[in-house]
Amino acid sequence: MAIKDQTPLHEVRPTTQELRMVPERYLPTPVVEPGHSFASITDHISTIVLRKKTPIGWLVGFTLALFAVGLLTVSMTMLIGKGVGIWGINHPVGWGMDIINFVWWIGIGHAGTLISAILLLLRQEWRTSINRFAEAMTLFAVASAGLYPALHTGRPWFDYWLFPYPNTMGLWPQFRSPLIWDVFAVSTYATVSLMFWYVGLIPDLATLRDRATNIWIKRAYGAFALGWRGSAKHWYRYEHAYLLLAGLSTPLVLSVHTIVSFDFAVAQLPGWHATFFPPYFVAGAVFAGFAMVLTLAIPARKFFRLEDFITMKHLENMGKILLATGMIVVYAYAMEWFYGLYSGNPFETYMLKNRATGPYWKMYIALWVCNGLAPQLMWFKRFRTSTFWLFVVAMFVNVGMWLERFVIIPASLHRDFLPSSWGMYHGTIWDWSFFIGSIGLFFCLLFLFVRILPMISIFEMRTLLPEAQAHTEEEGAH
């Protein structure tokens, strides 16, 4: 019978004729297109993973990603062999694209947990069909982010000194340093996200275990399904745990980017030393994260025919979030000017003047365009509900957030306190090869994920169906 479940996708596609009579715009966009049953949802999603033949598109994409990873390994060998001097960093500008990319990735890495945790707590049903995907994205973004702090040090082979462990030198890390906070924040975040993601996967792994035909595939999924059998008692504790994890992840996700922002806020450099950095960075992270989710979800949805599960409602909601967080970020940019000018502090004032008119003014203008103007389209329903425009805006935001970090890091460093030591920063070919490489790593993992794991949480989708609502008598009574 498992064979029967291997039917091609289009046969599983439901028809919603009667609805077609009514003009589109009068319909409330649902979170699952009607006409689905537990079986259809289960089969549709699990088939994507279990079907034997791998789509060409996937192969092509994966290969490209692999090439990028190759580039990354080459770059890493260069870096470790020759030294961080292969990058464009110099004396006034000690951090360049290494830290820019780190913050960029870690920011992207915030959407997943945020969607899963916060939206879960807020009982936002629509999160269901995107959370799994977003969580995976989070993990891989964090993985890419992790590369940079690890490799940007002058002597990466001594990185382990950043961890507290008893040693023959009798030395410990210096816990006043935001970099140490980073170590703890990022590693904790990675661990908790991983567990959150995995726990969410367990019932689906069981589903795959039961759907798979090949005994070894069964065993493989079975091993990770931990023998899940959907017992009511298990479900009870499971939901309990899931809720608790959400409760823990929420402050965690906020803390992580807060701490990343401390890398700058705690320093005293004009353009870094600002008290509003934590909220500003967190908002930026959500902003960037949702942009990336859109960037990935829109093509994936098309490619895997997931329109029924990732409906326009999802996309539109994400559009709204883009707008909201975008506005917060813009507010932060504005406040920077207010503080700078109101303080009358010559360093702050000059820093702003330099941003707007200095050598990097183009970057700064581009930043406003990408993060300030582009999201404004989201005010209008016809843009919010157009996958094309959503995608365009999302891309703008992705670029904009990278520029934001550029403006914050090198553009603040290159002209700080003493004019005598002012300089310039230009990324070298190796800076870019690292960036491309990390993107490759990200997509490599992502491709593997969509191939071997359900990119939508099957069991949670089931709960969205009306049939899922069962009542004990006393409930049924009223």
């Binding site: 816990f175 703890f184 661990t191 567990m195 726990v199 931990l226 023998g227 017992s231 504790r237 069991f459």
Partner: protein
Amino acid sequence: MTAIPSGIGTPITGLYGVIAEFSDAQSLLDGATAAQEHGYTELDAFSPFPIHGLAEAVGLPKTRLSLIVLVMGILGGLGGFFMCWYANVIAYPLNIGGKPHNSWPAWIPVTFECAILLAALGTVFGMLALNGLPMPYHPVFNVKRFDQASRDKFFLVIQARDPKFDLYQVRDFLDTLNPREITDVPW
């Protein structure tokens, strides 16, 4: 013991229980409630998704998970703070930029992260432990159609170790819930 079914309440070797398959959540829930009212205690129900109220219907003791998490969280927090304090005040106090050895405000981030980390670990492993997972082998997997439990079918099992267990009575009782199918579950 012999394999011949004997008197009420006596467990039967090689038998885990009797399982009934339903095709919708409502009838499973009703069935479970009925079984409980009928006096069966060693029940379990299986469904492809969490069903509200089902756990109570099969009689579930209050879970201690939250307590575990709380304890772990507190331990993590204390541990984190102690680590910072010990490293920078006791183990090797140094004058760092003129700041006092115990610059406790700087310990907060690490303290917080450690608290979260341990709490989260407590949650996950606590949940698994309480659920007795991992358990890759389980009798119910012997049921032929049980793989549907992770798709769209619902199962109710009455275990052989139930004091009220009697093979024939149980079968009859389950039959009254007009399930899709009734099967004996061997060990």
